[in-house]
Symmetry: C2
Subunit: 219 residues, 2 copies
Amino acid sequence: MKLFSFWRSLATYRVRIALNLKGLKPEEVIDVDLMKGHQRQPAFKAVNPQMVIPALVDGEGPVLFESLAIMEYLDEVHPHPPLLPTDPRARAFVRGIAQIVACDSHPLLVPRVRNYLVGELKLDQAAVLKWIRHWVGEALDAIEAHLANDGMTGRFCCGDQPTIGDICLASQAAGAGFFEVDLKPYPTFKRVVGACMQIEAFAAAHPLKQPGAPAAVTH
Amino acid sequence: MKLFSFWRSLATYRVRIALNLKGLKPEEVIDVDLMKGHQRQPAFKAVNPQMVIPALVDGEGPVLFESLAIMEYLDEVHPHPPLLPTDPRARAFVRGIAQIVACDSHPLLVPRVRNYLVGELKLDQAAVLKWIRHWVGEALDAIEAHLANDGMTGRFCCGDQPTIGDICLASQAAGAGFFEVDLKPYPTFKRVVGACMQIEAFAAAHPLKQPGAPAAVTH
């Protein structure tokens, strides 16, 4: 397997956690520097026409793309330990939580959107930060309500085993950290992410533990 | 089953198609008027704390939320006809295509984002339209490249049976129609969506066929 990665990419963080939980180690990890726009170079566009990461090459065949699709693929091809519960309703809950992060929150703060806000809409840093915190917070409101009220949550977001839901919560927490979002209003979210980060597969995959990462991030 | 729906909601359109393909008919379809902000009323917030649709109640238990999670749930509980291929790589392709729509494109043009662009960022209609067309087009570029080059596409986005990938393509096409995005640069996308729209389950679920819909939409 060949993983196209970058320390700061929250979507790639998810795939790194999934690979770690499965005990899978890509033979090659190729750095795509999002801060320098390397995702838009022709060499990478030939790999993934959307010019975003993560992208995973597993043997022959076209590239695997989109973090949630990659994690479901890994779970189907390497079923142990599972990244989804077995009950359909629990699976729907876990996927729903994952998608609040991966569909409704994170896509609003990726580099291409930040570039548009600054380059096209001429927003200053304060306005960009306000935008980011708004969408991170909207998702956290919804997530906290589901975790606290739907009766599914245990040590992890659904029961006592980590799933793709928890993986996405960890990526949401890392993003909240980058942009200094106050997590006090989200006690269940914080508790679940705390449980995740005690697992080496999560901790070792953290953006700030990757090659090229700074000691800390402020925005 | 009880579906919370609105004619214009592209994410709910996806769930309506899935229900139709499965031959499932909710006992109740409850209208949540997104144009009048009814999704933010306390009665609906008690159903879905994220205050977005679709939301599906299936018997007892917490609400089902997020269109992709709902479709996977329907596919697991009512497996025939399947909405995903059987091969893991093909499933990853279909989910990846679905997620380019549902994660990277549609969340940038939903009402809450348009409201922020106008209310907070004071964008005029032309600038909002430019924003929407930009993100619809970025996704279409990526989708067209995958459909044309990955070797998975047949009559539908993966092989000759409609999947959740095609359902998302149909929703992307409806959105492109609302905002008058030129589809000429995307011939494979157009062809696949054309094949979808020949199926009654897709055609009957179209936004403009729902109660309360106008004859046509411009923006």
